[in-house]
């Protein structure tokens, strides 16, 4: 067994999976074919359903000084993660637990450690090629940085277009370019492999009817993403490619490359990203006429339906249910003409100035080859085959999968799966946890508290980059004259290895106890410099970086005098701050290394097992006498799986696992504390109280089916719910042979004013039950009255199958709902037929309703643990996309129907994800805080609690006995909101004392 994991693919899924594994004590190799990490996400600026960026939210909260603290777009640093750009897997030998992987690493042509990102090479490069980052809308050079702030932040040679003229080699000031670099072969020993290779967007050239690449104003959705981006080809101005004018009208065509004969699956994310892009375009120009042509609007995720309604009702984006067969171009204006079917069945012609093709997800071109190397089975569309009841597992033991590699999906679902894959790998390798990772041992820190400040200042010229922008000599003279400064040196390139080594010697020789580096951007180099200063026995808080690049040379290049003044000011401020800087220690807190899982349904069972199988004790609390929750009533899945066998197996495993303490007929009546240190009181059926201490809590309290009040439910034996139908079919109570005709009505209680969300599972349920009926009795007429069929992903093929088997689908609008009438035993359903027009009357034997999924009453638990509920009563996660199973309250995690409605497969992945998040907390013996954390001056604290209400991390609590506030350092992220809101400085931030800040202000003005 090897406690290391290879993650293939460094998009958001691979990054998330790597972070989860790294945080829970495994060594991770993160490999990507491209020169930089980030995958498709690097090309996108904002996400649905909040139209913000939020990638940074997946960064670790604990031990933050060791890992990335910057924007995730700029950098990913974790001591346990090694990033391997430009690498491809060539060979995998061995078996689960002991793989030997051979990687080929393509030459970058540029030495990463030497490249300072000055761009001089690209400026002299004579070769221009299409920029793949900007989707060919602009060009780049043969030596290039994929996008600004790429990670790693090093230029790369595109060997396919490079002419090897050597101009760049000559121009490079640090001799970083080496055209003779050759491919390298690397062997890695890993215990597990995670496949996170993502997708390739569908290239619509073959669909000639849309005129893509022939008509300049037909663009793909990903091209539009770039066009809307401030870092894009038009600097964020929305213009049409033909004439550079702002379009007055635009249309989105959905399902381009999805839901067709060749790709009979739904790409799951396109409806939502089209909504987002439409909204962002509207933001740029509120007058813009935006039209979306769709077949089913699949806004099935949490919060997505509200987003759809916002687009429709608040922003006036227009929606037409129609697949557009063809686009024509008006030759003169280059406007685009399309014909759509109108509500009344007639045809309407539309003219648009810009048309966007919402392209779907396909497996990447290299995927078949890679899967062959890994020995994985693919499904009929070329995605990785998975087990319905263990979605992270591939056909080969020890190799796991997440994200779009196994099926098209959006970021939220990808991130859940990323954690689930990390969970599966952690289970396999749990005996090897913390074996291959370790922190570097540094010399003991010099106690500088009694010493007078002795500041050494190093200024980096960055070749000519900084030196040309400011007057270095003036800066040096200024520094020499400042109090406490005993040493000033100018260095050509401070980031080069030798320079760092020299600097360390100098610090030692001069017995400096504070160091100012006036040099580079912090994000790529701060870690390097911190390591250096720790090597010479100084506490990292005694280092101060002054960013002369982003603050000066990049922005004031042409105003040397002003730039020098600013530089002097920045330097003085840094030195002033440092003079009175105390060394800041890391503070530690113990962890109770067991978990509590609340709820014994599918999610709870999986979560508890996943913790136990990773070697952690888990308390599993279930209110009822039996385990299983809603799963007990499900007898089949759309994918023809057997949920009852799954349930039986799970219960057996849980009952037999010695690490799981099962508490049936028990409730959690009290819970308090914080991450790593919770206390809860369990009350059993005999009213006995059991206090327990746990480090993490997983909430899996489930949900239930809505009891319909619509459609005369309860008035006739013939009106039943899908679940009742399923139960009766399974028990044989209902003989399908005797049925002539069945009507199913979708969205009963969902996507309504009171419940503005899609219940996600009901369309599959209807498809499943109708296919089941059709199989037993092909003669039965089945009508499914629906609003939008939510057969996302590969469920689409079952939708197709149902249509092929003669199930009749009739679309209804929410304003014209079907009517159910009863006359004694007889039933009649009336619905407006959108195809034929007029009212259709059906007299079925059965009316089957698809009711909403609603949450249980979670208020008590939410209040106990200070968790938020959303407007519908489901628990509210920390962030819908990037922290889907976390709460803002650290140490508490969420899965199953308590989060939102979801399928069995999705629930399993989510429960594993929640367990993994909990495990990465329990895997630590102690929680380490950052150095910059807040503290309380108790004498001054009035206990007004303003700081508690503004703390985004729940890191402040009231000490009721003393009447003052206390800080939980491990949770504090040093944001300083408390210090800002506190009127009298009772809340303080270490490293930013008032004295320091005042003297910094003084130095600045």
């Amino acid at each position: 067994m090897v406690g290391a994991v290879l993650v293939i693919g460094a998009g958001i899924g691979g990054i998330k999976c790597s972070l989860d594994l790294a945080e829970s004590g495994f060594k991770v190799y993160l490999s990507d074919r491209s020169p930089n990490i980030g995958g498709t996400l690097a090309q996108l600026d904002k996400w649905f359903p909040d139209n913000h960026c939020g990638m940074c939210k997946i960064l670790p909260i604990f031990s933050r000084d060791e890992s990335s603290q910057f924007c995730l777009r700029r950098g990913l640093f974790h001591p346990n993660i090694e990033i391997l750009p430009l690498s491809t897997v060539e060979k995998v030998e061995g078996e689960a637990g002991d793989f030997l992987v051979t990687l080929s690493v393509k030459p970058r042509g540029v030495t990463e450690e030497k490249c300072i990102g000055c761009d001089l090479c690209a400026q002299v490069c004579p070769v221009e090629v299409e920029s793949e980052f900007n989707e060919g809308l602009v060009s780049r050079k043969a030596i290039y940085l994929r996008h600004p702030l790429a990670m790693p932040n090093s230029y790369t040679i595109d060997w396919d277009s490079c002419t090897k003229c050597g101009d760049c080699v000559e121009r490079c000031p640090t001799a970083a370019i080496d055209l003779s670099q050759e491919e390298e072969i690397r062997s890695l020993e890993v215990g597990a492999i995670v496949l996170a290779t993502g997708f390739e967007e569908f290239r619509p050239q073959p669909l000639t009817q849309y005129g893509y690449k022939r008509y300049p104003n037909v663009v793909t959705s990903i091209e539009l993403e770039r066009m809307l981006s401030a870092s894009g080809p038009f600097r964020g101005r929305l213009v049409r490619p033909s004439d550079g004018e702002a379009p007055r009208s635009m249309a989105f065509l959905q399902c381009v490359g999805s839901r067709d004969r060749e790709r009979d699956y739904c790409s799951s994310a396109c409806c939502m990203y089209a909504l987002k892009e439409a909204m962002l375009a509207k933001e740029k120009n509120p007058e813009l006429d935006v039209h979306i042509f769709f077949m089913d609007l699949r806004a099935f995720g949490k919060g997505y339906h509200r987003y759809y309604e916002k687009a429709k009702d608040d922003l006036g984006i227009k929606f037409t249910r129609c697949r557009i067969p063809q686009i024509k171009q008006e030759p003169k204006t280059k406007d685009l003409l399309l014909t759509a079917k109108a509500e009344d069945g007639g045809l309407t012609r539309h003219q648009f100035e810009l048309v966007v093709l919402s392209v779907g997800q396909t497996p990447p071109p290299h995927f078949p080859e890679l899967s062959k190397v890994l020995g994985l089975d693919l499904n009929r569309w070329g995605f990785c085959k998975i087990n319905e009841f263990s979605p992270a597992e591939t056909s080969r033991e020890g190799i796991y999968v997440c994200g779009s590699a196994s099926a098209p999906k959006d970021i939220a679902d990808t991130l859940v799966e990323a954690s689930a894959a990390a969970c599966q790998a952690s289970i396999l390798l749990s005996s090897q946890r913390n074996r291959l990772v370790g922190t570097k041992i540094y010399p003991e820190e010099v106690d500088v508290r009694e010493q007078e400040a002795r500041v050494a200042v190093f200024l980096c010229r960055c070749g000519e980059e900084i030196a040309a922008a400011v007057n270095m000599q003036e800066m040096i003279e200024l520094a020499r004259g400042l109090p406490s400064v005993l040493y000033v040196e100018e260095i050509p390139y401070l980031c080069l290895k030798d320079a760092v080594a020299d600097m360390k010697e100098r610090i030692k020789d001069e017995k400096a106890n504070r160091v100012v580096l006036a040099a580079c951007s912090a994000f790529p180099y701060e870690r390097l410099f911190i390591e250096a200063i720790r090597d010479v026995g100084l506490n990292p808080s005694l280092l101060q970086l002054v960013d002369l690049r982003e603050q000066l040379s990049w922005i004031h290049r042409d105003r040397q005098q002003a730039a020098t003044e600013k530089g002097k000011s920045l330097l003085t401020i840094a030195i002033e701050k440092l003079r009175s800087q105390e060394p800041l220690p890391l503070l530690c807190q113990g962890v109770e290394r067991q978990g509590l899982v609340i709820g014994g349904g599918l999610a709870g069972l999986i979560a508890a097992l996943s913790l136990a199988e990773q070697g952690f004790e888990a308390h599993l609390v279930e209110r009822a006498a039996d385990l299983g929750g809603n799963l007990r009533d499900i007898y089949a899945t759309l994918e023809r799986g057997d949920p009852q066998a799954l349930l039986k197996g799970l219960i057996k495993k849980v009952e037999e696992n010695p690490l799981i303490y099962l508490h049936k007929e028990t409730e959690v009546i009290e819970a308090s504390g914080y991450a790593g240190n919770f206390e809860a009181i369990l009350k059993d059926k005999n009213s006995m109280l059991h206090p327990i201490k746990v480090g993490a809590i997983i909430i899996a309290t489930g949900g239930e089916q809505y009891q319909p009040t619509e459609y005369r439910y309860g008035e006739s034996e013939g009106i039943i719910t899908q679940r009742e139908l399923e139960g009766r079919l399974a028990s044989g109570e209902l003989d399908s042979k005797e049925l002539r005709s069945v009507v199913m009505i979708q969205c009963v209680g969902s996507r309504e004013k009171e419940r503005p969300y899609c219940s996600r599972v009901c369309c599959s349920q209807a498809l499943k039950n109708s296919l089941n009926l059709k199989e037993k009795n092909p003669e039965v007429d089945i009508f499914i009255l629906y609003r939008d069929m939510m057969s996302y992903g590969f469920k689409e093929e079952h939708y197709t199958e149902a249509r092929e088997r003669g199930v009749i689908f009739i679309n209804y609008e929410v304003d014209h709902k079907p009517e159910v009438k009863t006359n004694g035993e007889a039933l009649q359903v009336q619905v407006i037929d959108p195809v034929l027009g007029g009212t259709l009357k059906i007299e079925p034997d059965l009316v089957v309703l698809s009711p909403a999924i609603i949450p249980n009453d979670n208020r008590k638990l939410a209040q106990m643990l200070n968790l938020e509920l959303n407007e519908e009563g489901f628990f509210k996660e920390a962030e819908v996309k990037f922290r889907p199973v976390d709460f803002l309250k650290e140490g508490v995690f969420l899965c199953g129907l308590a989060h939102s409605p979801r399928e069995i497969t999705e629930t399993i992945a989510q429960a594993q994800a929640a367990a993994q998040r909990a495990a990465s907390l329990l895997a630590r013996e102690r929680l380490e805080s950052g150095r910059v954390v807040s503290e309380v001056n108790e004498r001054r604290c009035s206990g007004c609690e303003l700081c508690i209400s503004v703390c985004p991390y729940d890191a402040r609590v009231k000490d009721e006995e003393k009447g003052v506030v206390a800080v939980i350092e491990a949770l504090c992220q040093g944001c300083g909101a408390c210090a800002a809101v506190c009127p009298n400085d009772a809340a303080k931030l270490r490293g930013f004392t008032d004295r320091q800040v005042f003297s910094m202000v003084d130095a600045a003005v």
Partner: protein
Amino acid sequence: MGRNAILEVEDGNLLNTLNMLWRKLFEKKVIDALLIPQELPSGINVVQTLVGSPESLESPNPLAPVLPVNSARIVSQMTKVAPSPRRVGVVLRPCELRALIELVKLKQASLENLVLIGIDCFGTYSIKEYSKLAQEGSPPTEDFLKGVKEGREDSSLREACQTCEYPTPMNADLIIGLMGMDFEKSILLQASTPEGERILEALELKDSNETEVAKREEAISQLIAQRTKKRDELLEQTEREVFGLENLLKLFAPCINCRNCKTVCPLCYCKECFFDSPTFEMEAEKYLGWAEKRGTIKMPTDTLLFHLTRMNHMAISCVGCGMCQEACPNDIPVSNIFRLVGLRVQRIFDYVPGRSLEEELPLATFKEDELQEVG
């Protein structure tokens, strides 16, 4: 709106009638103690008193047109550490009640077991003015009420009162309604909470008719309109006086750093003011360094910083009681400036300090869609 009852004024003597009301509250066990202003034996001022039994109610006079302290501070002092299990009635003016609500939100006071009795407020004189009037002859309360009845505009009232647009109590259990009433004959007792209704029941008073309620409402809106107009004029003038750094410096130049304004402010709740902390104790070199850099520095330093910081902390909750301006020995229009800024800030968040306990302090809440544009 809750129940309204009529309190008949006996022998045309409102103060006596009210005195009987307080006693009755004790008798009916509505309260065990009462916080109420009482006249000094000399008659030249009133002070806030805490009374433990009805017998000790010697000269209660909550109508005296003077506000020596904003009693929200006193209620905070009484309830912050631990509220009493006994029921304490507190008789407060509208600005005191509003400040109290703010303090409760800031966890500096508790309403537990308090009976909030609010009084319609026609305004108050400064302490000096009140003593002067008292020494000049007839009791100021009677004269003042007479003036009110005659509809006399009194320009010697405190400026804060003349421009106060919240003359009626918010969040009181029981309101002593004087506006629009012929208070030689009868006044209105208004219950605006269930607690207030229980009190009215215990007092066995007859319900008022709608005309009286309407009369009060009418008088209130008239007064508010008149005061709002005055307020806007005053703030406009203040804005002119304070606009720009030069004016600001000029206006605050007479500040001697006595911090009286902070001491009397009902909302300045810090245990120890930041400006009294060692952060501001500097080495001589520091001062000399500044002097060197700028030529001249004003001593004592940081007076303007003190006011701006206090404004930064208090503007959102400022109820405009004007205590700060009263306390300033050098007549700096502190309150006017605070109101000018406070009102603007409060409007941004649609926040009225003291309006409701449910309204969260804007500083303590985060809304994604607010303040999209700054500056």
